[in-house]
């Protein structure tokens, strides 16, 4: 279940559990996160920085019995001296005594993960990846970007990072588990300029294995092409048009949707989707899935932040809302079982998080969707936080490409796109066929039939 070198880490976690029980906790869980990372940044082919870090952090949650239920508290420390852990365990219990009893608080009653599937979350040999090799990767991306066009004359740099982490989780219900994972990335951000006009864009590749990363030169070229095509961007007159989200911007919609499906926002009634279970909330071509067990998945993990097995949950099936995202607490509040979506870091108690979240691919490439759009906007970058989950009101800064007669006509910036999320989901009239994972959430290109574009 866990690698042999982590025996002492398991002992530290067990010590925290034991310490809190001795201090009077009726339930307790603890998580230890160990991370070993390196990051290099190369800019214009010169090394900008090299960073290395080894970190361990322990989080403890104690629940104390009171008349009306359990009261709880969470602590975390990166001081892993055994005596410091004992002190922290006692402090956690003392803090838990000071909070109020909550009838819904508690560890899961059972159903903990028994099988720990091999999810291909890291490749042991990748631990030997040298700083020099990653510097070379970043250099290749930088020089490939420059070779695309003489107008690529500067850069914010290319970062190559590798992070190896290990998570160990125990609870007083008897569950003990651990797993290791890795995360490798290359992120390139060149600048293009023409006269006074200066534009930046980016491209990236992310994988659980070094071998799974795209060719650095291809990443640099793609980033450069994206920056070049933004040169000469201008605003457009205010209008209502179809808006296409590309594979980098479409996942942001998915993230906002997930926030509105979290059990916490449902029981707090702070989501515009509260009360919509079983109803049609999106166009019938939209199916949203969260699955924590995709082999090699960037969001995969064998068990969630409470030790429950991760699984496949269809959240929206052909437009119909079928599941919330739940941990055991928000599940109890809604009288439903956990969906295995507890997320837990060392520094916080459990909350709801997604694993691998995506929108099922449809038909047609991005180019075909553009060709099918008489007049509209292709959004390639979004900025700002203009989304209100309680009402669904959506208004964000955007940049992208203007479409006329089914063709790209010119780059656009200094505009906003606005609508109501409810209408936007129902108005999705094209779902593309290209689904590529660049983070834990992925979506194919999407077209929303009509949104308000505000500009000059």
């Amino acid at each position: 279940m866990s690698s042999p070198q982590s025996t002492s880490d398991h002992e530290l976690v067990a010590r925290a559990i034991e310490g809190a029980r001795k201090a009077g906790a009726s339930q307790v869980d603890a998580v230890l996160v160990r991370s070993d990372s390196q990051e290099v940044k190369v800019r214009n082919e010169e090394i900008e920085h090299v960073k290395r870090a080894n970190e361990r952090c322990l989080g403890i949650r104690a629940l104390v019995s009171q008349e009306a239920g359990l009261s709880s508290a969470v602590t975390s420390t990166c001081d892993l001296d055994p005596e410091a852990i004992d002190r922290m365990a006692q402090e956690t219990v003392a803090l838990a005594r000071a909070t109020a009893a909550d009838p819904h608080a508690g560890l899961p009653e059972g159903g903990f993960a028994e099988d720990i599937p091999e999810l291909d979350l890291m490749k042991a040999g990748d631990r030997n990846v040298s700083v020099e090799a990653r510097i070379e990767d970043a250099r290749r991306a930088e020089s490939a970007a420059r070779e695309v066009d003489p107008r690529i004359d500067n850069s914010e740099g290319t970062e190559a990072a590798s992070d190896f982490s290990e998570i160990i989780y125990h609870n007083s219900q008897g569950f003990q588990g651990g797993y290791s994972s890795a995360y490798h990335s290359l992120f390139s951000q060149p600048l293009a300029s023409e006269g006074e006009n200066k534009q930046r864009d980016y491209w990236m590749t992310v994988s659980r294995q070094i071998a799974g990363l795209e060719d650095p030169a291809a990443v640099g070229r793609k980033a450069a092409e994206r920056a070049i095509r933004r040169l000469g961007a201008r605003s457009v007159p205010t209008c209502e048009v179809p808006v296409i989200f590309d594979s980098l911007t479409a996942p942001s919609l998915l993230g906002q949707l997930a926030g509105c499906l979290s059990g916490y926002s449902i029981y707090r009634e702070s989501s515009f989707l509260a009360g919509c279970m079983g109803q049609s909330i999106a166009a019938s071509n939209v199916t949203v899935v969260d699955d924590g067990r995709l082999p090699g998945g960037l969001g995969s993990k064998p068990f969630d932040g409470e030790g429950l097995p991760t699984r496949r949950n269809v959240l929206v099936n052909e437009g119909r809302l079928e599941s919330w995202l739940l941990d055991s607490y928000s599940g109890r509040k809604l009288d439903l079982p956990s969906t295995g979506n507890a997320s837990r870091g060392a520094g916080s108690g459990p909350g709801v998080g997604t694993t691998n979240l995506w929108i099922e691919a449809g038909e047609g490439t991005l180019d075909e969707i553009i060709a099918d759009t008489e007049k509209g906007l292709l959004v390639t970058e979004l900025i700002g936080m203009g989304f209100n989950p309680i009402t669904g009101d959506y208004s964000r800064g955007a940049s992208g490409l203007w479409i006329e007669g089914g063709q790209i006509s010119h780059p656009v910036e200094e505009i906003t796109i606005a609508g109501n999320f409810r209408d936007m989901l129902m108005g999705i009239d094209a779902v593309g066929s290209e689904l590529v994972w660049r983070s834990r959430s992925a979506a194919p290109p999407l077209r929303v039939g009509q949104m308000t574009v505000a500009g000059q």
Binding site: L95, E269, I383, G386, G397, T416
Partner: protein
């Protein structure tokens, strides 16, 4: 700059904390820096941090969560030309600092430096936030009682209040910085914050209202009933207001920004673009614009880390440079950048006390402190009356900027239409977008009512969050694009 007894005490207290608890003394620090300097590097520093953060939060009428987090560690940096090597460890000891120094110096492939370092204290500090007792020492029961009172008060205030969420967060941060140019600096930075959020309902309609407050002072100030009651009143007022708001128009409009928190405009549109790293690399829309007009006459913008007790203030930055007042735009002309040590050095300029980091696990970057526009002459009432049709925005959520293109955006959480010089209906979901280098050239009225925000800002850059402040007098800006839904 003044020196007083309290400041010296603060520094001494921090120094002896690291010495007594972890054995980090001057001689061992000199040895650590010596290790980093065995290769040919221009500069090295070691940053030690010990931070405790506590929080208590309430929802559904009960205090459900209490938490305490201890974050400690050391980060060592070696710098050679534009290159930086950085290594950090969560173990505070001279041994771990030595190992980090050995890793960080690998940035330089040339041996033969071996300079001896002799550390001396800096004696010119003043304490901008002398706090007798660490806010994290306040008994949790006191904080729980405060939140319970807030909940009862909010629910009694108005029947439309359906949910109350409130939290108290206290932080106590001790830092020590030893650098190869011989400086040994230390600081103790308290930080407190109270958040109140309510959900109000009217039939099917629901809306949120939020109010927060904080700074570098003792928690007692937040416990004052007149203080937290005002916050609750404000959160409830905003939630109810938004229940009755109408969709926002879309397009180019004349906009009046209210005083205080709308200063986030300066932070996004101007401040980030003036950070030294982007200008040294010439990736900012403001690169090479020093001495040029970037704002209307009368517009003066400063970044000032020396305001007592403000959330964005710091005695010293995270490289040990004392904070100061930096004028960025003077009477419309760009006159200064915000610098950390590295970028100032590479540009042949002086560090400005803006080298900040989220924690020992991060390298310092040029960052803002408290950024605001100085007051002008105009009466705020007159400014509103001068607008025939426009938008009056008084409070905001978050913002963001694209440094290179200069395009920025920020979202209003409280805004009204202006019709014939009168404040009219509240609108929802107004997002403002503009171009940093020219937005301030369209400022045509500046109020006499400069206000700073209430101490709730956190700025994100390269994945690092640091506390900041903003401020603004009432200003009128013409032809800003407002992103609403009504054509």
């Amino acid at each position: 700059m003044t020196t007083d007894r309290t400041s010296e005490e603060t520094r001494e207290e921090a120094l002896s904390f690291f010495k007594d608890r972890f054995g980090v003394d001057e001689r061992s620090l000199e040895a650590t820096l010596g290790t980093a300097l065995e290769r040919r590097v221009d500069y090295a520093d070691a940053y030690f941090e010990y931070t405790t953060q506590d929080s208590v939060s309430l929802e559904e009428g009960i205090v459900k969560d209490g938490s305490r987090h201890l974050n400690q560690g050391v980060g060592v940096r070696a710098q050679s030309g534009e290159r930086q090597g950085y290594a950090h460890s969560d173990e505070i000891s001279i041994d771990s600092a030595q190992i980090a120094a050995g890793t960080a110096r690998a940035i330089s492939d040339q041996s033969g430096g071996s300079q001896a370092v002799s550390l001396a204290g800096q004696r010119e500090q003043r304490d901008l936030y002398p706090v007798e007792q660490s806010p994290t020492d306040t008994p949790v029961e006191t904080k729980v009682a405060l939140l319970d009172e807030i909940d009862r008060y909010a629910r009694a205030l108005d029947p439309c209040v359906k949910q109350v969420m409130a939290s108290v967060i206290t932080q106590h941060r001790r830092i020590l910085i030893a650098s190869s140019d011989g400086r040994l600096s230390a600081d103790i930075q308290p930080l407190v914050r109270l958040n109140v959020q309510v959900i109000a309902a009217d039939g099917e309609k629901r809306e949120v209202g939020y109010e927060g407050m904080g700074g570098r002072y003792a928690i007692d100030r937040l416990m004052e009933p007149s203080t937290w009651k005002r916050m609750v009143d404000e959160a409830v007022r905003v939630a109810k207001l938004n229940l009755n708001s109408i969709p926002c128009p879309a397009g180019s409009m004349n906009v009046v920004l209210g005083p205080g928190w709308p200063g986030i405009l300066l932070h996004e549109a101007i401040g980030h673009g003036l950070e030294g790293d982007f200008n040294r690399k010439k990736t900012s829309a403001f690169s090479n614009k020093l001495g040029q007009r970037v704002a209307s006459e009368g517009v003066t913008v400063v970044d000032d880390g020396t305001l007592p007790e403000r959330r964005g203030s710091i005695n010293i930055d995270d490289e040990g440079t004392p904070s100061r007042e930096n004028v960025l735009i003077e009477n419309g002309v760009l006159v200064g950048y915000l610098h950390d040590r590295l970028n100032a050095g590479l540009m042949g300029m002086e560090p400005t006390g803006n080298g900040r980091r989220e924690s020992y696990a991060h390298m310092p970057l040029p960052r803002m402190t408290n950024t605001f526009m100085l007051a002008g002459q105009d009466d705020p009432e007159e400014i509103l009356k001068s607008v025939d049709r426009g938008l009056y925005a008084v409070s905001f959520g978050g913002g963001q900027v694209d440094i290179t293109s200069g395009k920025f955006v920020f979202s209003a959480s409280e805004a009204y239409l202006i019709e014939d010089g009168q404040v009219g209906a509240p609108v929802k979901g107004a997002t403002l977008i503009g171009n940093g280098p020219d937005v301030l050239t369209r400022v045509n009225r500046i109020g006499n009512d400069l206000k700073l925000d209430r101490g709730v800002g956190t700025c994100g850059k390269d994945g690092q969050g640091v506390p900041v402040g903003v401020g603004l007098p009432t200003v009128r800006i013409d032809d800003l694009i407002v992103g609403g839904t009504e054509g």
